[in-house]
Amino acid sequence: MRKVFDDYRVLSDETLRPDEPRVEKFLQAMKKSLQQRDNWTFWLPYTLSLDTCMKCGTCAEVCPVYLASGKKDIYHPVYRSDMLRKVYKRYFTLPGRLFPGLVGAEDLTEEKLNAMAENVYRCTICRRCAYVCPVAIDNGVIVREARKIFDAIDIAPDELKKNGTQKQIKFGNATGTPANAFLDMIEFLEEEIEDTKGYKVKIPVDKEGAEYLLIHNAGDYLAFAETVMGAAEVMDAAGVDWTLNSPAKGVNDAVNYGVFYSDAEFTTIVKAHVETAKKLGIKTLVVGECGHAFEALKYLMLRLIPPEERPFEVKSILELEDEWIREGRIKVDPEKNPEPVTYHDSCKLGRLGGMYEEPRRILKACCKDFRELTPNREMSICCGGGSGFAIMEKGDFRKFRMETYGKLKAEQLKASGASIIALACSNCKGQFREIINYYQLPVRFAGVSELVANALVR
């Protein structure tokens, strides 16, 4: 795949079609994106961010990609936003039509379109930039709107669309796990829990009318089974009425990749989640350890689906674990996790989700030696796995993730002296798995539920 922007390629030639004319269709789709009626979901932050950036560069001072790349101009957050903004000014504003040179308006060419299509998949939309901007301009929302425009002209990474949202609607999960395989996995996990912990835990599946429906990121069963096991042990220890669900009973995958690139796909999946929860007649939908799934179901869904159409609460498994530890519903002994543990604030759980203290209370109760990464909480540095990046491997993209975001996280991790990094998001787990390997760090990662389960006193 030839170079169209930098040394990496997220989009295959089949998807990007770099030698075909797409500018006109892009502009048509962009025009629609600027209309309130057609694109109401983020119209206000989108248009204000396009119009009112003061070009002060404060965002760049905190952007992980820009800083770790050695302040390469192509990774400057304003440079990226300007790729869309210059087109916006040229075709959709009066000064841009009359005095393009003055206001930095530029014609869109096929080459610039190729470069933009790639650059919008270098930013994870961690919104660290938006947090520090004096005018609260949001480069992240501009990136997402650009991705939506590209999706409207059929340019989206297949990891997110063809093998992501579309697969999830077809199979009930993005991994393509059929019901019999899922039940085999559950049986295996029950055996594993008995083998490793010495007690039997029954994992309910497809129980109707349960109080809690726990939906994990389906990838966790395959790649991060310890999180799933840990969660099951915790639910069991708490003695609550809970269930998992299989793909036979709707969507059993918490993910919603539409959060990353498409309102249309996002809406389809949210509706499928809501249908699944309603059909099973559950009271609380519990989101497993997945960052964007929490954002989608706890926040983004609220103004998309009217309350009467979603008759259930949404909680993160972290919120439940925190509650149950504090009220003594589950008992934990921190001596059972003696190694030094640190915690990475996932962007979607922290800056975008507001959950800073819940995981900390949990980890301090369950681990003997808890340490902070520096910086943390709202200034946490994105690990680079988000936006689905953790599952994008084409065009040497892993190297990009490791050399930019990954480099900063490796330094933080080393400085903390921890030997375990607790993570509550699948994309973060995937990314840290690679970071630890790439930088040969003497660290392992663990799900928060995994650590809680280790500490359980039964």
Binding site: W43, L48, V62, G104, P134, A136
Partner: protein, 220 residues
């Protein structure tokens, strides 16, 4: 001479004020009527009116974000913004008839002149800033610089009697003629007021929306 006196001294001021008020008013109305966006808050954020007010004031008067994350720009930007605030207070106290106005006016003019000059030079010589700048950013700063220069050079900012001209505008009987240098200052001032609503210098109004409708959520 007569034409310029009546044009700049007697006609443009009303055009300028009307454009500023209705221009900003129109934009603000559009934003107020915008569809409520999906939840897109950034945590933590202040939940009480008092909390929001104190963060707003801290940002407006100390440029806190720049101080914490972009220190090199903080001082020149603070100088320019304090200069602008002082000039705004100059106009208010001048209309009200308080003599402190002229001290605010002159100080404001000097600060604005210095601040805008420093920001212009930063933008020209700091590579990271220059790379992301377009001509209009330089133009805006130049405009502010020239306005401050004209204001100071004319002596208008330190002239308490200038008050009479502004009061006369309110009664629609402009007190003319004015000294030539005052007309230069006023011309730039009216043009600035006409220009402002259509540029990003209206960011003071935009901030209400980006903070109170998006980043800090909207009270349901």
């Amino acid at each position: 001479m007569d034409f310029w006196q009546s044009f700049i001294g007697g006609f443009l001021p009303y055009i300028a004020v009307a454009t500023l008020v209705f221009g900003l008013g129109y934009k603000v109305t559009c934003w107020l009527k915008a569809p409520v966006n999906l939840h897109w808050e950034l945590f933590p954020y202040p939940h009480t009116l008092g909390g929001q007010l104190s963060e707003l004031l801290a940002e407006v008067f100390t440029l806190r974000s720049l101080f914490h994350h972009n220190l090199k720009l903080w001082f020149p930007s603070l100088v320019m913004h304090w200069g602008i605030y002082a000039v705004v207070f100059w106009l208010f106290f001048l209309l009200v008839g308080a003599p402190v106005a002229i001290y605010l006016g002159v100080a404001g003019g000097i600060l604005t002149l210095t601040g805008s000059c420093l920001l212009f030079l930063f933008r020209l010589f700091v590579p990271g800033l220059r790379q992301i700048s377009t001509p209009v950013e330089y133009l805006n700063l130049l405009f502010i610089f020239l306005l401050a220069l004209a204001a100071l050079a004319s002596g208008a900012l330190g002239d308490f009697a200038f008050r009479n001209y502004f009061i006369s505008l309110l009664t629609f009987k402009p007190h003319l003629p004015l000294p030539g240098s005052y007309l230069v200052f006023l011309l730039l001032l009216w043009l600035f007021m006409i220009y402002l609503p259509f540029t990003r210098m209206a960011h003071f109004a935009v901030k209400y929306f980006t903070y109170h409708k998006v980043k800090w959520g909207e009270v349901e």
